[in-house]
């Protein structure tokens, strides 16, 4: 059952075994596992439920209806970086490109060796979960018939340069190649949580409350008892948790919810890590067809470890491509007029920088500043992408970096990017992958959440989203998040049964 808080006229007071806050990758996975174990489950989602038929391919509408803060959430720091998060039933899985990466072994090794989490997060158990999730969501490499020009050119670049590239592994069934993942798949092909784990949990009795922003978890002693909030229509709700409260509100929202609930830890809201990204546009002689093919169908992890970045093809709606093009007036129109011959590839940077999430009257405040070494990695990454675009046949590359020419025409000029500014304000960045603000630790002094995913000192208040990750991952995190959430929920079930 879905209960829409925008239509609720009366206060609500209900009890469940578990109350899950957040319906994205983590919350949906926890809800599915718990409901499969015959627990009664409520899922509380801040945003609305938007059906496949309601998705539109217009950027402004999409921003307003599917993204947090209407797509206007930004970091506060030296550079204001947009932070994109879904705010709807299914969370960011509705608006991402369904890219599925297992947590790399080298990253897991740093969690084991640097944070002592080898026993808490056994790799074998995680792989077993990932096996299951990949089966459930039909994860497979992007099939060639939906590569489209943007993705195909990256394959060509890899072959020309001898660089490792591969079709992305994605959670999609019968992709139409509409390049519209980020405004909600209009064909229901993307296996978002709104189409998979949430309906499966619902079928087992879970109640999905949408337009229902949770305000706090009411505690009694060391027990989490009740999730309270106010429906979008105004009346309050109180959802009592007989067994546990599961927080999966995202690395941005979770710290505030825990703070308002009385959780105190010097690590709460700290250690915020992310993958800032920036994109380059290549202009080709022939039509590319940026809007034909999988939104993000190809990638290169050639420098994932040594350069801390990954390269991804990306197709954005025409509005956002236009906004990224240089010039004003007639020169801007000149570039817009060549949009059909453009390819767009982006860098995901595994930044060293740590920021923090504070609380303001208008919601969370995200403080984040790239470190100098991150900026150095970013410019190296962009130079690499420029070389790839030229290798694929681009006539010019638009760096989008202040202080550099608006277009570079020769492959050797990729060096301009490599020698580019170290001031992050010179770059147009965006962030999507968010981690670490309630990190897991064996000792309470070192983190917020224990190896059992429960907040230290509060045995039935669990955090299962990427807040608990001790570091960023350097790869698209959805599958990692789901694997950890599945582990957490399975342990809750075992604990209950034990």
């Amino acid at each position: 059952m879905i209960v829409d808080g925008a239509q609720q006229e009366h206060a609500l007071d209900e009890a469940f075994d578990y109350v899950v806050v957040g319906s994205g990758a983590a919350g949906a996975t926890a809800a599915k596992v718990l409901s499969e174990a015959a627990a009664s489950v409520a899922v509380v989602e801040d945003g609305p439920a938007i059906g496949t038929a309601q998705f539109r391919d217009q950027g402004f509408h999409t921003m307003r209806t599917l993204y947090r803060d209407g797509g206007a959430q930004i970091t506060r720091g030296k550079a204001a970086i947009p932070v994109f998060q879904g705010r709807c039933l299914g969370g960011s899985t509705v608006v991402n490109s369904a890219i599925m990466w297992r947590l790399p072994d080298d990253v897991w090794a740093t969690w084991r060796d640097g944070h002592g989490l080898g026993d808490a997060l056994p790799l074998e158990a995680l792989h077993s979960n990932w096996d299951r999730i990949e089966r459930d969501l039909s994860v497979a490499p992007t099939p060639e018939e939906v590569w489209g020009g943007n993705n195909r050119l990256m394959a060509a670049a890899g072959a020309a340069l001898g660089v490792r590239t591969a079709p992305m592994r994605r959670a999609v069934v019968a992709c139409h190649g509409s390049a519209r993942c980020q405004s909600g798949c209009p064909y229901g092909a993307k296996q978002s949580m709104a189409l998979t784990y949430l309906p499966q949990a619902e079928a087992r009795g879970a109640v999905l409350y949408v337009n229902a922003p949770a305000d706090r978890v009411v505690m009694r002693g060391d027990r989490a008892e009740t999730v309270t909030g106010r429906f979008a229509a105004g009346p309050p709700f109180r959802l009592h948790a007989r067994r546990g409260v599961v927080v999966a509100a995202s690395a941005i929202q979770t710290p505030g919810l825990l703070r308002r609930s009385g959780v105190r830890s010097p690590h709460l809201g700290r250690h915020f890590q992310a993958h800032p990204g920036a994109s380059l546009v290549g202009v080709f002689d022939d039509p590319v067809g940026l809007w034909h093919g999988a939104t993000q169908g190809f990638e290169s992890d050639e420098h994932r470890v040594d350069g801390r970045f990954k390269v991804e093809s990306v197709s954005v709606a025409p509005e956002f491509l236009m906004a990224s093009l240089p010039g004003v007036g007639a020169p801007w129109l000149d570039w817009i007029g060549r949009a059909d011959r453009m390819a767009m590839w982006a860098v995901d940077l595994r930044a060293h920088a740590e920021g923090r999430i504070g609380e303001g009257r208008a919601g969370p405040g995200i403080r984040f500043d790239l470190e100098r070494r991150d900026a150095a990695n970013l410019r190296a990454a962009l130079a690499f992408v420029a070389e790839m675009l030229f290798a694929a046949g681009a006539r010019s590359v638009l760096p989008g970096v202040h202080g550099l020419p608006e277009a570079i025409e020769r492959p050797e000029d990729a060096r301009l990017l490599r020698e580019g500014p170290l001031d992050p304000r010179a770059y147009s960045m965006a962030m999507t992958h968010l981690f670490g603000t309630a990190r897991m630790s064996v000792r309470p002094e070192a983190g917020v959440v224990g190896p059992d995913f429960a907040v230290h000192g509060t045995p039935n208040l669990y955090v299962v989203d990427s807040s608990v990750f001790p570091t960023n991952t350097g790869v698209n995190p959805q599958l990692s998040i789901m694997g950890l959430a599945m582990l957490a929920a399975s342990r809750m079930v075992e604990t209950r049964d034990g």
């Binding site: 307003r64 930004i74 034909h292 240089p326 007036g329 129109l333 949009a339 202040h402």
Partner: protein, 117 residues
């Protein structure tokens, strides 16, 4: 402002923002855009009006000048040493693009929704 950013008659295939129905988008934007974006756009327009001309040695406001000079002033703002000015112009361009890029005639002209190449 929008007519300077995306002028009519400046491209053989692309209309200007006003011919592409920007006023209709603007009504929707004013009514429904996130507060932060609306505020950013207003401040951006203010800066473009009163600061951009100064960057090319002309007294403000921007509306005093013909299209070529207005365009030159905004280009100067786009490449200004001030990150704040650059960001503000970026917001003006983003809002312009949100309206313009959704227009069917613009999308047709750039190959959106057309046949696969």
């Amino acid at each position: 402002m929008i007519d300077t950013v995306l002028p009519g008659g400046a491209h053989p295939e692309l209309p200007g923002a006003f011919d592409a129905g920007f006023p209709g988008f603007w009504e929707e934007f004013e009514a429904t855009a996130p507060r932060r974006l609306r505020l950013g756009f207003r401040v951006g327009v203010l800066a473009a009006t009163w600061v951009a001309p100064v960057l090319i040695g002309r007294p403000p406001p921007l509306g005093l000048y013909g299209r070529a000079t207005r365009e030159r002033a905004l280009v100067a703002m786009a490449s200004s040493r001030s990150p704040v000015l650059r960001s503000l112009l970026g917001i003006v361009k983003l809002v312009a693009a949100l309206g313009y890029g959704a227009a069917p005639e613009v999308r047709r002209a750039i190959g959106y929704g057309g046949a696969r190449p």
